[in-house]
């Protein structure tokens, strides 16, 4: 699965970005949700926006979609301000929103016909139903569709107008593995056909396979922006471990003391989950493992899990977020 990143887009694709977000700022009340965020998506390029909940992904996407206005910076989609963009722009942008937006009584085929008729030369509804695998539920009311079927209808609706730009918010959420594969292939083909695609996802395997570029954001700011391969290669391997109970401050100090005997810059950083830690500032080495085992033993903790983290997008992602959090603490 590593190294599965698609080839970088042709350089011509970068000439004029289809989506340009520059120094975007958005505040809700006194809270700054997006804080100077910039990103570009060129034609034929797929950029994935990754980040923890509350990082500002959906807010950014909704500003790109024209649903919200920025408080600072600028957003241009196909050269136009999306919040002011009229129907000419909306005819060229396909949106996949989180959470449906379809009447519970409406049926997939008629909904595709309806939205298709808003466009001058829409795609054939039956072809779209086949493409996303909804032929058998073409006349089933939306309320009786499964979560994955609703998502596939939403994707088909995003495609009905032959868009030049696609904005997909969590496209594979709720899909079963088979639908996920179909969706990935579909999205990948659209990118190859020249569409500019911005998507958000919680599914790192989706992102790793699809994205030309991953933009990781936290607290409304870009933490990293690189291809999946670059992100993975840029992460140094680290020792990660889980113990039977969280380490208190005394235990942490004790562990630090023993680790630093073999690696002076070593320190442990709490990871995702209870009693999960990563050793930063030191390469995994046999003596470091031995020191850790001794320290945990002295602290009366049982090591339940010990592994080397590196080589996966998930590790790279978590490491970058941990680095960002450490930076925040000063």
């Amino acid at each position: 699965m590593s190294g599965g990143a698609p080839a970088a887009p042709a350089s011509a694709a970068r000439v004029q970005p289809a989506i340009r977000v520059a120094d975007l700022v958005k505040r809700y009340g006194g809270r700054t949700v997006v804080d100077g965020l910039s990103l570009d998506v060129g034609p034929g390029e797929l950029v994935a926006l990754l980040g923890p909940n509350g990082a500002g992904k959906t807010t950014t996407v909704e500003i790109v979609e024209g649903y919200r206005r920025p408080d600072g910076g600028s957003v241009r989609v196909l050269g136009v301000d999306p919040a002011a963009g009229g129907r000419d722009l909306r005819a060229r942008v396909g949106l996949m929103l989180q959470g449906g937006g379809i009447d519970p009584r409406a049926r997939p085929r008629e909904t595709l016909v309806q939205y298709g008729l808003f466009h001058a030369s829409p795609r054939d509804p039956d072809e779209l139903l086949r493409l996303v695998g909804l032929e058998t539920v073409a006349a089933t009311p939306f309320r009786r569709l499964s979560g994955g079927e609703r998502q596939r209808l939403s994707l088909a609706l995003a495609l009905v107008g032959r868009p030049d730009v696609l904005v997909l918010d969590e496209p594979t959420a709720g899909m079963d593995p088979e639908a996920r594969v179909v969706t990935r292939e579909l999205v990948s083909n659209l990118r190859t056909a020249g569409a500019a695609i911005l998507l958000t996802s919680h599914d790192l395997s989706d992102v790793e396979r699809l994205a030309d570029r991953i933009v990781i954001i936290a607290e409304g700011r870009v933490v990293a922006s690189a291809s999946p391969a670059e992100l993975i290669a840029g992460t140094a391997p680290r020792l990660a471990f889980r113990v039977d109970a969280p380490l208190d401050d005394t235990a942490v100090a004790q562990v630090h003391l023993q680790l630093r005997a073999v690696a002076p810059a070593a320190r442990i950083v709490a990871g995702h989950g209870d009693a999960v830690y990563t050793i930063e500032g030191a390469e995994p080495r046999p003596d470091l493992v031995a020191a850790l085992a001794g320290a945990c033993s002295d602290a009366g903790r049982l090591i339940l899990e010990l592994r080397t983290s590196a080589g996966s997008l998930e590790d790279a992602y978590l490491a970058l977020l941990a680095e960002h959090r450490d930076g925040e603490r000063g």
Binding site: E65, G66, Y67, G86, R87, D88, R90, A91, R92, V93, L95, L97, G99, G100, G101, I102, D103, P104, R105, A106, E110, T111, V113, Q114, Y115, G116, L117, F118, H119, A120, S121, L157, G161, R162, P163, D164
Partner: protein, 248 residues
């Protein structure tokens, strides 16, 4: 490059979808078709009303007014409130269908429903109830009343739909429908109400609509005050809906 369709085609597509969904809303069909027809048939057949003379001629305008209130306030308002709740309006807002197109399609669908309602109620009156329209009926006045009434009640329905939560909107729209049935001169003439209620009823849009339709049916004229009241409601409600409607 992808282009939007013409406004006419987009509106027609949306109008067709509005009608299909309306036909699937059983509770709306009850308010729009069954209740007005039942009011007409029941009170025309059971002599409980203190009406002299042409009972069907009295009830028909009332039931048509009730049908129009159901189509524009109850069905349009409640459905639009739920569409806002489900994010249907948000999704449509991301498509080439403009807000103006959407409102045009929704009002067009209301008018189509109203034509069917009027045709059904007229057919019931003339058919099973053996009613003959009196001479001097004024169709132009009736059409003016229907259009003003639609503007007033659709404006109210959209105002509630665009400002309240879907459930609150549902309850209030149904409440106003019952209120209109009782105070709108639909079955009980406004003149038979106690003075305090009659005074209130006179300035409400339902009684004004019924009064206009009744004047148009029997050709007696004298609906000027009601035209002013209903016109004021139409302007105020449509204006307020335009001003305060929240799309998401």
């Amino acid at each position: 490059m992808s282009r939007p369709a013409g406004h006419d085609r987009a509106i027609a597509a949306q109008l067709a979808m509005e009608l299909r969904l309306t036909a699937r809303r059983g509770e709306s069909l009850l308010a729009m078709v069954v209740i007005p027809a039942a009011v007409l048939l029941f009170f025309a057949s059971v002599p409980v009303l203190a009406i002299d003379g042409d009972v069907v001629g009295f009830l028909l305008p009332g039931s048509v007014a009730l049908a129009i209130i159901a189509a524009s306030l109850v069905n349009l308002g409640i459905a639009t409130g739920y569409e806002r709740h489900y994010g249907v309006l948000k999704r449509l807002g991301g498509s080439p269908l403009t807000r103006g197109d959407l409102v045009a399609a929704k009002l067009g669908a209301v008018l189509v429903v109203e034509i069917a309602q009027v045709a059904l109620l007229l057919a019931l009156a003339v058919g099973p109830l053996g009613w003959t329209p009196p001479g001097g009926a004024a169709p132009a006045l009736a059409i003016a009343g229907v259009l003003l009434g639609t503007a007033a009640f659709a404006g109210l329905g959209l105002l509630l739909a665009g400002t309240l939560r879907a459930e609150g909107n549902l309850a209030l729209a149904n409440g106003l429908f019952i209120g209109s049935l009782l105070l709108g001169g639909v079955v009980v003439p406004v003149g038979h109400l106690p003075d305090s209620l009659a005074g209130l009823a006179m300035v409400l849009p339902a009684a004004a609509l019924t009064d206009i339709l009744r004047a148009a049916t029997d050709g007696t004229g004298g609906a000027e005050a009601s035209l002013v009241v209903l016109g004021a409601w139409a302007v105020a409600a449509a204006g307020a809906a335009t001003r305060f409607f929240r799309w998401v």
